[in-house]
Symmetry: C2
Subunit: 211 residues, 2 copies
């Protein structure tokens, strides 16, 4: 049986994106500071087709995070910004060869044909809600895992629907002060820390989520 | 030179106390869940004059947290509830022999004579604000450390005044959903994780705070 996982970078004050998200700041103002630790790693760079980066504990965490992922679920904002109906020429933030290399199921309110990109990423647009998106991703993933990629609202929907097995927080020592909080409105979760890995840049805590 | 430290238990969604604090619920509703890990330890129990408890990683963290503390600073709520003027017979939440065994400086708006308790705890009431309280605690502590004991508002004042050298968060895997958030309104802090200790119950991360 595959697992439903979520790896997400979070500020020490609980935000996964900064305020005032826009095409210029898809992660919100200051939100890029949540991802600096990842961008420095060889693991992240090789997934994104960029050379260089450090071999480090953080790099291993990133490589392991995607190793067993067979499909992704993400929100419309993470795919390509505010909800459409998008112009069908809009292929999202992720360029011609997105870094997922797997089926990606995008939560949206607007139907659209699947979008096959280079490098084995196909975006499938799901209008039936989080349960439907996760069910389709699970089918596509076979015996591999499904990763909830973000943003905050999509992870919250998965938590509220008790769909998530594992939540890995990359706790970054920055204070954003505003933006999208990950753990608002999710009710009383049963969480159990199962692994902790730390580096000078970030503390990675994986929680098992009770259903 | 002594350090100004703060050890505080925090929920995964960032609260250090639950909502609706009252004499029946001094930590707010659900707030006691933040401290269950501590109450299970021999370290906490011996400080509070209670027998038993576990020898564990968590117990060592607690013992180390108080080992070098020469004085404490706390808010009026942590001493004894909503601000006074208190009846001078009110000696706070902590019983006749409080667990501090050191000088404690209490932030308040109402002057009051110092209160000497059994077991070498003396509460001194400070009306001059956080800088004054920390300065007095520093003098009292000599070459030992000063611990900011809480609650949220007092720690925020110390962070905003850039008085804190070290912030140790005991990150407890519970979601409180409401209450007192620790890291709201503290501005952009420069934090660096220096040690991480984990147990099945809680993740202890110590941050060095840049001034």
């Amino acid at each position: 049986m595959n697992s439903i996982t979520c790896h997400i970078s979070i500020s020490l004050d609980g935000y996964v994106a900064g305020p005032n998200q826009s095409p210029e700041h898809p992660l919100g103002e200051g939100g890029e500071r949540l991802h600096e630790w990842a961008l420095a790693t060889e693991g992240w760079r090789s997934q994104h087709g960029v050379e260089g980066g450090e071999r480090s504990t953080d790099s291993e965490v990133i490589e392991e995070a995607v190793r067993d992922v067979g499909a992704y679920v993400m929100g419309r904002g993470m795919f390509g910004g505010a909800d459409g109906p998008w112009d069908d020429t809009w292929t999202g933030w992720w360029g011609e060869e997105p870094p997922f290399h797997a089926p990606v199921f995008v939560l949206t309110h607007h139907e659209r044909d699947p979008l096959a990109m280079r490098g084995d990423t196909t975006f499938t647009f799901v209008t039936g809600g989080i349960e439907s998106a996760v069910a389709q991703a699970r089918d596509a993933a076979g015996d591999r895992d499904v990763a909830i990629a973000g943003g905050a609202s999509t992870v919250q929907q998965a938590l509220c629907a008790r769909l998530l097995d594992e939540l890995c927080l990359h706790i970054v020592p920055v204070i954003l002060g505003a933006g999208d909080r990950l753990l608002d409105g999710v009710g009383d979760l049963h969480l159990r820390p199962v692994t902790v890995v730390d580096s000078p840049a970030v503390t990675h805590v994986t929680y098992r989520v009770g259903r």
